[in-house]
Each structure stands twice: as C-alpha cells, then as structure tokens.
Symmetry: C3
C-alpha cells in the first residue's frame, strides 16, 4: 500500500495557528469562572490551545513539538489569553451560541491538522485518525484535569466523535487522490457540521447500559 500523505506544510501551519487562537480564547474563558489570576489564565490558554498538539507530537515522535520549536504557537496562545483578560467584560457578553460555534471550528481545524501531521510522520491511517481526535480534544481534557473536573470528552454529547469523523473523512479523501486543500476542507466541514447538528439536535451517543 502506498502510504497516504498530506504534503502541504503551509496549509497545515495556517490551519493549526487559527485553531490555536480559537482554543486559547476558549481556555482562557474557563479562567473567568474560576478565581484565577492572570498567569493561571495564561496557563489555561496555553494548555487548552497547545496541549492536544503537544501530546500528538510527542506520540508520533515529532519532538520537540512544533509549539516548543516555533515561538509563534505560544505567542498566539498568549495573545488569545490576553484578549480574554483585557476584554473579559466583552467576552462575557458573547452569546453562548457563538462560543459553541467557535469551539466547533477549532475542533474541526485541530482534528484535521492532527491527522494530517500524523500521516506525514508515517503513522497508520487508523492511528492517524485517533491522533486527529487526540489533537482535537487533548487540550480541553488537560484544561478540565487542571480544573479538577471530569473531562467533558468522557461524558459529553457528540464531540470527540465529530473530531474522529472529520479526521476519517480527510484521510478517506486523500486516499481517493484528492488534493490536500480539498481533502482538509472536506474533513473540516464534516467535523464542524456534525458537531453543530449534534448541539442543536441534542444528539447523544448511546449510554453504557446500567442494570
């Protein structure tokens, strides 16, 4: 089998940096509810925005991770944190529906970027899909662990599932010889649309039967 590759470093970087900003804003927003100081807010912004990608990079052997090699990643994460800190009254007025939409966008970007990078490191497509999921939900999971909450990935409605579906769609599109730009667009749209429908239709995955 010819290995599936993504082969578009620039596109990957752009997707990754936009996702980083979105997730940093979201991570920092979690600090507003807690009683955190400005550094705690920055730690949450950093962990939420870069945690998933760092876990992925360590797992696929891409060390040092991009976020540590390239100062633009932490700079963007801290910029997202700063926006929340200085504009917290504004951030508080942002309607919940916009936050959910931004989050779905960040999830879609990270899931596709994560799977694409794993493919380029020679990871098996099945595991590349999982790496897409890890990239998408890893940062939020670290944030929840730091806040001593059960991570939403364990009990939330269709969230990680949307990330996995988006990553799978992108990989399948590459397998069908589509170009990286098209394949990643398909993956992002699949994840985003699935997540948004799930939120609005209150979709849930089957629960574990209890007896």
């Amino acid at each position: 089998m010819v290995p599936i590759k993504f082969h578009s470093a620039t596109l990957l970087l752009v997707i990754d940096l936009i996702g980083t900003f979105v997730f940093a804003v979201e991570g920092a927003s979690a600090a507003i509810q807690g009683n955190l100081d400005v550094l705690g807010l920055m730690v949450l912004a950093f962990a939420t925005a870069l945690g998933g990608g760092i876990i992925r990079d360590v797992l696929i052997g891409a060390v040092p991770p991009n976020s540590i090699k390239d100062w633009r990643y932490p700079a963007i994460a801290f910029a997202g944190g700063a926006v929340v800190f200085f504009q917290s009254s504004f951030v508080n007025q942002v309607p919940a529906s916009l936050i959910v939409t931004l989050d779905a966008a960040g999830l879609a970007l990270f899931a596709v970027a994560g799977a694409a990078k794993a493919l380029d490191y020679g990871i098996h497509p099945f595991l590349a899909m999982l790496m897409g999921g890890v990239t998408g939900v890893g940062g939020g999971t670290i944030r929840d662990v730091l806040l001593a909450r059960i991570p939403s990935v364990l009990h939330s409605d269709v969230y990680a599932a949307a990330a996995l579906a988006g990553a799978a769609a992108m990989i399948l599109a590459l397998k069908l010889k589509m170009r990286p730009a098209l394949a990643s667009t398909i993956g992002i749209v699949v994840c985003f649309v699935l997540r948004m429908i799930a939120v609005h239709q209150h979709w849930n995955l089957p629960r574990v039967p209890t007896h």
Copy 2:
C-alpha cells in the same frame, strides 16, 4: 558490567497484547459506574490499557510508542471496550474476585513487559524496575485522574509494590543468566502471587505516621 537485556521481541509482544486486553476490559468497566457514553467508555479502555505503556515508551525514548506504531494495540483495546459495552449485563455479574484476579494478571504481565522493554533500550536495571512499575500502574492512574479520583496507586494496598517486585524478580533472573521465557515467567508469578496474597490477607504497606 555487561548490560542486562531481554532479547525476545515475540514473547514481549504476546505478553503485552494479553495485558492490553485485560486492562481494556477493566478500564471500560469503570465507565459502567459513571454515566458515560460509548466513546467515553472507549477512551477509558484505551487510556487504561495503553496509558502505562505509552508513558514508558515516551520516557525510554521508544517513540513513536508501540501503541501508536502498531494498530493491533488500539484494536485490541477497543475490542476489550466493545466486549464490556455489548455485554455489560454479563460484565456486571462477573464476581469481584474474578476481576481482582484478572487485574492482578494484567498487572503482572505489564510490569514484566515494561521492565523487559526498558532493559532492551539500555536503561539501568534500577530504572528498568521503575519503568515496570510505571507500565503496570500508569494506565489505571490516568483512568483515575480522568475520573477526578485520587489514583489508587497512592493509597491502595500492595499494588504498585507487587509490580515493582515482579519486575525486580525478572531482572534478577536475567542477571543470573536465565533465559527470557523463564525469567519473565518468574517475574509474572512473583507479581501475581504477591498481589493475590495481599488482597486475601489484607496486607498493607506501612502508613505515613501522623502525629
């Protein structure tokens, strides 16, 4: 000093895969008590079964970890999760004593496999023993952290201690020039028997004195 090596990749793989299935079943069972959906259950199965080995591999420099390079690991972990999901009424009827026994078996397999792999990566025997312990208890610790519980490794009866003893026995047997198959059998038996006796005799390690 001639470095101690394990040198039996096939045996290591078989031990590792059996341990993976046992721990996946156990991790997924923890989801039955919580109010988790099927993906949360799979995340717990994956983290419990593969978390310890992933931490070990990252620490000894074996990246990408086996569980990421080799699709059989996650496939087996998810198979374990699926068994629990579809047969949860059956799993609920399994007597606690059988679960404890399976867990002791998984612990013994992982402790020995973890230490053996560390030796093969040129790690000092003392640290290889610790890596055996990390492999044995790492997955369960991640599961407990995700469930926002204090990991049982911190306060439970003889558990990590049995893993360390099994790893140490295996390393000692290799040092005495025994063959890998014999040395690993000895290590597995030592850990398993120690753990089972500890459970039945309610052995506990000395507590930290409080004044």
Copy 3:
C-alpha cells in the same frame, strides 16, 4: 543571531540534584496530610521532584530524560522521600516559613536549570524561559493533579511568575555575555528573592475581572 547557550554540564547537574532533593522532601510532605502508605509517599516524592524535568526533557527532545537515564536522580528523590517517612515527626515540626524558603530555593534552582538545558538543546530563548517555568512548577502540578486538587500554579500568588522571571534573568545575563556560573546565580537570586518578597508582602497577580 548567535544562539544563546549555557554550556556548563557540571554546574547544571549540581543545581538539578539539589533542587531534586528539596522538591522530593516537599512532595513527600504532602503525603503526610493525606492518608497515604509508604509507596504513595514515594510516588509523590518522585513525581514532585522529577515531574517538571521529565516534562521539559520530553518537550525539548532530550529523551530518555535525565531522570530515567541517570539513576542518581530517582535515588535522590527516594532519599528525600525516606527522610520524610522516617522523620515525619521531625518534618511536622519544621516551621512553615522554612518550608516556604526551601520551596522557593527549589523553584529557583529548577527554573534556571530548566531554561539552561532548553537553551543547550537549541530552543528559542522565549520558549526556553517557558521551559524554565515548566521545570519549576511541573512537578508540583503533577502532585496536585494526583491528589485531585486544582494545581496551585493556577491560582496561587506570584509563584510561576517568579520562576519565569528567574529564567528570563539568567537568559538575559547569558545574552550579555556573562559566564554560566554568574548568569545562573543571577537567575536563582532573582527568582528566590521575588518569591520570598511575594510571600511576605502577600503580593498577588491581578485577578481575572469578574462582572
């Protein structure tokens, strides 16, 4: 730009090992409050003392981490744990002010050692400063996560900020062509003094405004 390097492996090792002992004592002390057994205490000593350095090493690509390659690190961590276990009545009588002072010293040592090592691995100075912070607060954060507490780094007074300042001061001094011994002394003093003043003056970073 000529990359900034630290270039003094022996000095780095000495700083690192002293910091390891101090943090091991502190991590093990946290076990006295919980109801932990001797192995739980050792796990906390190990995680607190070596966790930050392990995260740093994995992130900068220095795998296996020093603490896994070099048996002296875990040996010193366990020695710190043993002191607490056997002398817990003595440790309990140690005045809180001495513990705070020791902790500030450990923080300063780790922040400077962490940043210095990152520089030697070719990491950008901005990220090397962050790696200093991670080295300083990482172990305590793992300890808090294991104890299912919100890590103090998220809400405490000037702590991680002092680590970042010390790391930044050291990097700046190297940039000004000072020798490693002088630069690291400056960094350690900056972090230590800042932390001690913050404790005594009840300095706090600005809180996230809540509306």
